[in-house]
């Protein structure tokens, strides 16, 4: 089988763009609550997350060379679908389009589920419904999607109750629990590092598989260094760009986050992700982070959870797989036309993404709108009274 090298180059470019969107989509998982509580300034938070994602991407070499992680039968001999660059093209472009759409609405959705959805849609077009392992979809996507927010929510609820009970002496003090901000930075950093080690591997696997399927590198060669470097940079740059819409939803849209609450939420996210990945029941980072924020909102007395926003987020989770599958199927149909179809699909995808970015620019949301209003009185770094008075004096003179 001959493969047009331009299609492979296109797939590599799209995979890197997907990695970029994965980065900016998931910045919120680690940094939404530290930004909301002003434990870190927005730019510092995204810079820290970007560095940790970059480092994390280099630290793990456990790249799976099964693009769908068992969700799709990749063996054409047993009724599965042949993994070709055109197939990967359809799946990855569908995931990018869905990631941009959910970003436009400020919805923290799973990039992995979007990728799986796109690939499932392409597989159905390529080899029929039988090409999908529906049992594995239930085990690896549906049940974890239901379990993630529940596990993280219960954990964060209890952790929030504990930190408020332990520090009840500080009740009534305006910034009595401000020290939790520092601990929160450590928990958030751990989440960012874990994200870098896990998520960059996905794209490395996709690119490597596209190169293998095109016969450009042998399967046993492993992941080329340039793939590791480019994927690490793409996810880090995406993280630094900061998906401010999603950060706002997670940091202050679901509930107003205070420092102790943010610490409990971020700690719950970190321990749930680590426990799930090491005990053999992988949960979605995005859904864990969202569940933690909701759980911490329920755990703090006097706090309210905005269930309308939570419902919108949940709707995004439900729609991710089928919507990405639909887009993936349409792109795979176009890809059946050959290189012309791939070009048409690329143009259509680029137009859709361009239109969404234009709509987003009309209602621009930047770093300044991501901090929670309730914690504006707090400061990331305590300023001593004398310095504060001096600064105020300078302000008056100016």
């Amino acid at each position: 089988m001959t493969v047009d090298p331009w299609v492979v180059i296109l797939v590599v470019a799209l995979a890197l763009i997907f990695d970029f969107t994965n980065g900016f989509h998931d910045t919120a998982n680690a940094m939404a609550t530290p930004i909301a509580t002003r434990a870190l300034t927005p730019r510092t938070a995204v810079a820290l997350a970007a560095v940790l994602n970059l480092v994390g991407a280099f630290l793990s070499t456990e790249v799976a060379l099964t693009v769908s992680h068992g969700l799709i039968n990749e063996d054409p001999g047993t009724g599965g679908v042949a993994i070709t660059p055109a197939f990967v093209f359809a799946g990855v472009l569908a995931a990018i389009v869905w990631n941009i759409a959910t970003w436009l609405f400020g919805l923290p959705s799973s990039s992995s589920h979007a990728l799986f959805g796109g690939l499932i849609g392409a597989a159905i077009v390529g080899a029929g419904v039988g090409a999908v392992h529906w049992g594995t979809v239930l085990d690896k996507v549906v049940i974890p999607a239901l379990a993630s927010p529940l596990v993280a929510g219960i954990t964060a609820f209890l952790a929030t109750r504990v930190v408020y009970w332990m520090t009840r002496r500080n009740d009534g003090h305006p910034n009595g629990r401000g020290r939790f901000r520092i601990a929160q930075i450590f928990s958030s950093s751990l989440v960012a590092l874990a994200h870098g080690t896990n998520d960059a591997q996905k794209t490395m696997g996709v690119i490597t598989l596209a190169l293998v399927s095109a016969g450009m590198i042998p399967r046993e060669e492993g992941v080329p260094l340039w793939v590791i470097v480019s994927c690490a940079l793409a996810i880090a740059i995406g993280t630094y760009t900061g998906g401010w819409r999603i950060i706002r939803t997670l940091g202050s849209g679901l509930t107003d986050v205070k420092p102790a609450q943010g610490f409990a939420a971020e700690t719950s996210t970190a321990v749930t992700i680590l426990a799930s990945s090491h005990l053999g029941f992988a949960l979605s980072t995005t859904q864990v982070a969202s569940g933690s924020v909701i759980g911490s909102g329920l755990g703090r007395r006097g706090s309210t959870v905005r269930w309308g926003t939570a419902g919108r987020v949940a709707a995004g989770w439900v729609l991710t797989l089928p919507a990405a599958a639909l887009v993936g199927a349409i792109l795979a149909l176009l890809a059946l036309l050959g290189t012309v179809g791939v070009v048409l699909g690329t143009v259509a995808g680029a137009l859709a993404i361009g239109a969404m970015v234009l709509v987003a620019r009309r209602t621009s949301i930047g770093a300044e709108s991501t901090a929670s209003d309730v914690s504006v009185a707090g400061e990331a770094v305590a300023i001593k009274p004398r310095r504060r008075a001096r600064a105020a004096g300078r302000g008056r003179r100016a």
């Binding site: 994390g56 630290l59 793990s60 070499t61 456990e62 049992g135 239930l138 085990d139 049940i143 379990a147 596990v151 993280a152 219960i154 954990t155 964060a156 209890l158 952790a159 929030t160 504990v162 930190v163 009970w165 332990m166 520090t167 002496r169 500080n170 009595g176 629990r177 020290r179 939790f180 601990a183 450590f186 928990s187 751990l190 590092l193 874990a194 080690t197 610490f263 409990a264 700690t267 719950s268 970190a270 321990v271 749930t272 680590l274 426990a275 799930s276 090491h278 005990l279 053999g280 029941f281 949960l283």
Partner: protein
Amino acid sequence: MIDWLGLLLVLGVSIGAALAIALLVGLGIRLLATPTRPGAIGEASDREDDEVNLNGRPLTATVLAWVCFAAFGALVGVGIWLVLPFWR
């Protein structure tokens, strides 16, 4: 087949670890907020055997608080160890 036992294990470990960290950090912050002992401020710098730090907080409370924070740091270290495959 859905691994319900695995899910319950994840829930149990997550709750246990999160509560342990919350207790440690919460206790540390609570200890740092230990109220000043009557008459402590002003005497601290005068006597070498004074057990009160400059903030008026008992020295034991400060030391225990930092022990809690160090334990939290160690748990973060365990987390990094879990994240990085080549260390295992």
